[in-house]
């Protein structure tokens, strides 16, 4: 049974603020001149271009940025680690109980995903669920990647299970496990961008030839 309870706006607002704060932090760290850099790279000007202006230059892959924002949401990213540990929560801590990827992305002996995760959220226990609950393969590990690497990893058919751009859009528009991110149940915050908006942004990026940012 899909969780149908009407959500308070507060958790969504908190998630939006958190995403904005995180984006701000990334922006600062990118532009910061470290003491080491200061010795070897004199007078590097800080970029002050507003995100809106950057987005207007679609040829530099800016169309991917709203897509990346969704992919980086904990509901998506927690199952796309670059190591053997699925993550939990908005703080992305390692899955309790020493749960690991296992040989097939479905967990280790006795700790298989479907030992606890069913095909739907468990409203009593709070354990999340959706059809084909599993960890993304290591080739689709996204954690810690910048926009450019995230984009190239996503569209590389050798690493994404042979999906062309059309298949990627289809996957993110209709796959039930992907859609779980917008109906995660319990106290989990759904992906901040509404799914219809995400699909529109995704298709705009795909229609432009799926350009990737340079950084």
């Amino acid at each position: 049974m899909v969780h149908k309870r009407i959500r308070s706006f507060a958790p969504v607002l908190v998630a939006i603020i958190a995403v904005m704060a995180a984006a701000s932090a990334v922006s600062v760290s990118k532009n910061q001149i470290t003491p080491a850099n200061a010795q070897t790279a004199p007078a590097t000007p800080l970029k002050t271009e507003a995100p809106e202006n950057a987005a207007a230059k679609s040829d530099d892959g800016a169309l991917f940025k709203p897509v990346a924002a969704v992919l980086r949401h904990p509901r998506c990213m927690n199952c796309h680690p670059r190591d053997d540990h699925p993550r939990q929560g908005d703080d992305r801590h390692k899955h309790l109980q020493n749960i690991v990827r296992g040989p097939d992305g479905l967990g280790f002996v006795n700790a298989r995903c479907n030992a606890c995760h069913r095909d739907e959220n468990n409203e009593y226990s709070g354990v999340p669920g959706a059809p084909t609950w599993h960890l993304a393969p290591l080739s689709q590990g996204w954690q810690g990647l910048n926009d450019a690497d995230l984009c190239t990893t996503l569209i590389d058919e050798k690493r994404n299970g042979g999906k062309n751009i059309e298949a990627l859009v289809e996957h993110m528009a209709h796959d039930k496990l992907v859609l779980w991110g917008w109906a995660p149940g319990g106290d989990r915050a759904p992906v901040s961008t509404p799914h219809p908006q995400f699909v529109t942004e995704l298709k705009a990026w795909a229609s432009a030839g799926a350009p990737c940012p340079k950084s």
């Binding site: 109980q97 280790f108 002996v109 006795n110 700790a111 069913r118 468990n122």
Partner: protein
């Protein structure tokens, strides 16, 4: 709506809400009380049973999930792996209060059935979901290694 499945090899049909957790069907309907309720939220492992040979948390699995499938509980486990585990558990006097031990044994049997000679790392990964508040973990580990020796001859 009736749901039919096998429990410890015996065909059973239950007239319960298909959303009922398997744990309560096992304990309340079938009176197999060896499987314990610990946390109810998949965090402790006390309710571990085997579903088609794989360890699962019966507090999370619902009756509709097990239709036409095979459930094995602590009352029904048998075979050389189960015998080796039970013997090692008794020989090393693993249990203290014992409440978690049916889940521990089910997980140990599940592990040794798939990895007959587990390393400590294998044991950590396979048994970490079974909590013991008496902290019998070292004896559990030793008993699994001992059972592994028995199995391998």
């Amino acid at each position: 709506m009736p749901t039919s499945f096998k429990v410890n090899g015996q065909p059973r049909t239950l007239e319960v809400d298909p959303e009922t957790p398997l744990l309560w069907a096992i304990r309340d309907e079938l009176k197999l009380t060896g499987t314990k309720f610990g946390c109810g939220v998949a965090l402790c492992g006390a309710c571990t049973v085997h579903l088609d040979g794989e360890a699962v948390r019966s507090c999370q699995i619902q009756v509709r999930d097990v239709a036409s499938r095979n459930v094995e509980t602590i009352e029904g486990i048998k075979g050389n792996v189960a015998a080796a585990v039970q013997a090692a558990w008794i020989r090393l006097d693993v249990a203290q209060c014992g409440y978690c031990q049916s889940g521990q044994v089910m997980s140990a049997v599940g592990l040794l059935s798939q990895i007959p000679k587990p390393t400590d790392d294998d044991i950590n990964k396979a048994m970490d979901g079974n909590v013991c508040r008496c902290a019998t973990y070292q004896r559990i580990r030793a008993a699994i290694h001992e059972a592994a020796k028995t199995i391998s001859g």
